[in-house]
Amino acid sequence: MVALALMEERHFGDFLVQLGARVERVTLDAPEVLLPQLSAHDHDEAAEEDHDHDHDHEAESSVTRVFNVAQEFTPVSLSAGVVWDFTPGYNAAISVSRAQRAPSASELLSFGPHIGTSTYEVGALFALSGNEDSALSLSSSAIDLETSNNIDLTLRKISGDVGFVFNAFYNQVDNYYYQVNTGLFAESGHDHGDEEESEEHDHSDELPVYLFRAADAILHGFEAQVAWQVTDEFKAQFFSDYVRARLKDGGDLPRTPPLRVGTQLSYQTESLSAHLDITHYAKQDRIDASETVTDGYTLVDAFVAYDFNVMSQDMSVYLKGTNLTDEEARVHTSFLKDIAPRPGRSVGVGLRGYF
């Protein structure tokens, strides 16, 4: 990859004008891309019969198609922004940009199990075929750059005991690359030789097939943060963020984080420091068809530390607790949300020495 970037900014009175541009050259050469016949199947009854039927054939040949893939991308990104100091201690900003991104090698060429997410990943170079012999074939769609047109609006208060940042954004993205659950399952590749297991049709060795695909999407939302220095020792912060991610043709994008609202209260003296963090994650019910609704939850974390001196050594004793209400918290953005919730309540006591 080769890239050239340029940034310029200039003040015009109360206005700061910023311009940016970046051009890249990304090449991706994969001389031997293998497309094996993937006997992926879904787990409903009818399809299972089909699956068994396939395995009843005494002998069959598998054909692995081979491709030499060469790709060349030239993404160009431009941005322009204005920051207006409309009154002392405040400013407002607007930024517009058009950004392009070349899809990564994994987004295009993946074809196999991904242990970290327990999925069978298939790149955007491939598509579902509807063919009986193999669930996947080469995609007939052109591989395009991901291009986003963005507008950001920001209002800041940057002086005084109370400060804030409010930001709203709107992104219209062409060819947004994301992983979609195909509803099919493929063998993970472990225990291939175990004939008995496959005869019994044990699904434990199978992974859900996730296909990278590109579609036009619209993402909009906001971020807000307010900080209030109540006294010299006590500070309160409030924050919230939200994104609405949907497909242009209808439907929602998968694994989109829910609305988040939180507060962080801090108390700090020379020897004592304490934090109380409370964050609420809203229920996420704007979901892709293959997803399930994720319930909202509130996490409460607390930390208290006391610093002292023993024999000229700086020491600190602390008490730390996370998820104090022991909420069952599942992360909607995780592939493993149904398998791995966030940790339950934990409390720790420690003594720390500084040397």
């Binding site: 310029e8 541009a21 293998l34 054939h57 040949s61 598998s62 081979v66 160009v76 052109a142 291009t147």
Partner: protein, 456 residues
């Protein structure tokens, strides 16, 4: 125009160029020849079978009665593959435990040599892998005083050295696998006795069941060079340690055979049967029967799929022979009426590869094929057919010569060497027909089948 303004213009110019150029994406996909693979879902193991296993009739090693030559023939086309000069002439010919090597024993010269037949199988865990190479003289040899009995069982070959009383050399046993021979191992599992004896040993996993000669003052043997006891030895770090002794239970012990359940030794007063039970061996004695006419069983044959052992009692010097069927489970022995031709004296015996038949080759050139019939829960061995494998004038038999045979371990075939006609006949036991004739340009003294035995 100041520098700042120039830069601004430059930025604007570049931006304009880029804006008009826009982003570009180009993908070139060329399909290459596909990789095709045949699968056999239901018979995956057989798929491997086809891929790695070799279908071959095997090879035949034949020693020359008049020289120290050993010839190896390819039984797929009966062609001569190679001829080797053995170190000594007049050697005995056997096969290694897994039939890869011809084992050549020169008792008088204290030497055991090996010729690689070139066909063997390795267990690669996921599949059995067969190899087919040219025969070759192995550099590996075994040395010991008076190597006499050579017995293979379950991939282990035991060479029994009788030792020599005159030189004060005790008897000993060396145990090697085909892998040991191929690797020319420097560490050979060995059991050394305190005294010489004309004995026998049978390897069973990490055990060795061997004859034991006790002190002449306490032996029950009439001929003290023959042992009268059996010891059970366990291997530790390459040496065998005695764990059990069946003292004095087999006077004048000679001849032994084993299947997966029992070990049978020939004794002057009957046969001694050993049977493993809870890691301990138990003994049972089966007395001689009247039909032996005062002779004793001195040779025993066994097959892993056959419960019955065949015991042979014969007079020294190739006299008439009495065959007995020994049921080690019931502790019974009965004579087998194999209806020999008048004046026929057996020269060679053996079970067919599948245990269906017991074969007797006699000096008149007949091959008697016996088979077992169940009657009253007993297996009775009877003559099924007799094949005349030589129409030559027997008076032309070279001095010291004899018919000899070897039994294929992958098919119902037997190979009979005829010193008069100087050929080896291939006999199909299923049809009783002679299906091949390997012409020799020398007088054969012994033949041994080599190759990949059918798994059992």
């Amino acid at each position: 125009m100041n520098t700042q303004t120039k830069l601004t213009f430059l930025a604007a110019a570049i931006s304009s160029v880029l804006l008009t150029g826009c982003g570009d994406a180009e993908t070139t996909i060329v399909e290459l020849p596909p990789i095709e693979e045949e699968h056999d879902h239901d018979e995956g193991e057989e798929h491997n079978h086809d891929e790695y296993e070799i279908d071959s009739a095997g090879r035949l090693s034949v020693t020359d009665a008049d020289s120290n030559a050993l010839a190896i023939f390819d039984l797929d086309d009966n062609s001569l593959l190679d001829t080797f000069s053995l170190t000594h002439s007049g050697s005995a010919l056997m096969h290694s435990a897994d039939y890869r090597f011809a084992v050549v024993t020169s008792r008088a010269n204290d030497l055991v040599e090996f010729i690689d037949g070139g066909l063997w199988r390795e267990d690669h865990v996921e599949h059995l892998h067969d190899y087919e190479e040219a025969p070759a003289y192995s550099d590996f040899t075994l040395a010991g005083s008076r190597p006499t009995h050579v017995d293979g069982h379950n991939s282990q070959l035991a060479v029994f050295y009788d030792g020599d009383a005159d030189s004060g050399i005790p008897a000993s046993v060396q145990v090697v696998t085909d892998t040991d021979i191929a690797a020319e191992t420097a560490e050979v599992n060995t059991l050394t006795f305190n005294v010489n004896m004309h004995g026998v040993a049978k390897p069973v996993d990490d055990m060795l069941i061997a004859s034991v000669r006790r002190d002449d003052s306490e032996t029950t043997s009439a001929n003290p060079i023959l042992p009268d006891s059996v010891g059970i030895y366990h291997r530790h770090d390459g040496d065998y340690e005695q764990e059990q002794l069946f003292a004095g239970e087999c006077p004048d012990l000679h001849g032994a055979a084993l299947n997966d359940e029992h070990v049978v030794f020939g004794c002057s007063d009957g046969v001694l049967v050993l049977h493993a039970h809870d890691e301990e061996y138990e003994s049972l004695k089966v007395d001689n029967i009247d039909e032996l006419n005062g002779m004793r069983i001195g040779t025993v044959y066994a097959h892993h799929d056959v419960e019955t052992f065949i015991g042979i009692a014969s007079q020294h010097g190739g006299g008439s022979a009495v065959l007995t069927a020994i049921d080690p489970e019931l502790g019974e022995m009965e004579a087998i009426d194999w209806e020999p031709e008048t004046n026929a004296h057996p020269v060679s015996y053996g079970f067919s590869f599948d245990g269906e038949h017991f074969l007797i080759l006699d000096d008149l050139g007949y091959l008697s094929v016996l088979s077992a019939h169940e009657h009253d829960d007993h297996a009775h061995w009877e003559l099924e057919e007799r094949l005349d494998i030589s129409d030559a004038d027997l008076s032309l038999m070279p001095e010291g010569g004899a018919f000899s045979m070897t039994i294929a371990q992958n098919a119902a075939e037997v190979y009979v060497a005829d010193p008069i006609a100087q050929h080896v006949l291939v006999i199909d036991l299923e049809s009783g027909e002679t299906t091949g004739d390997i012409e020799l340009d020398f007088v054969p003294s012994a033949v041994t089948w080599l190759g990949i035995a059918e798994a059992h």
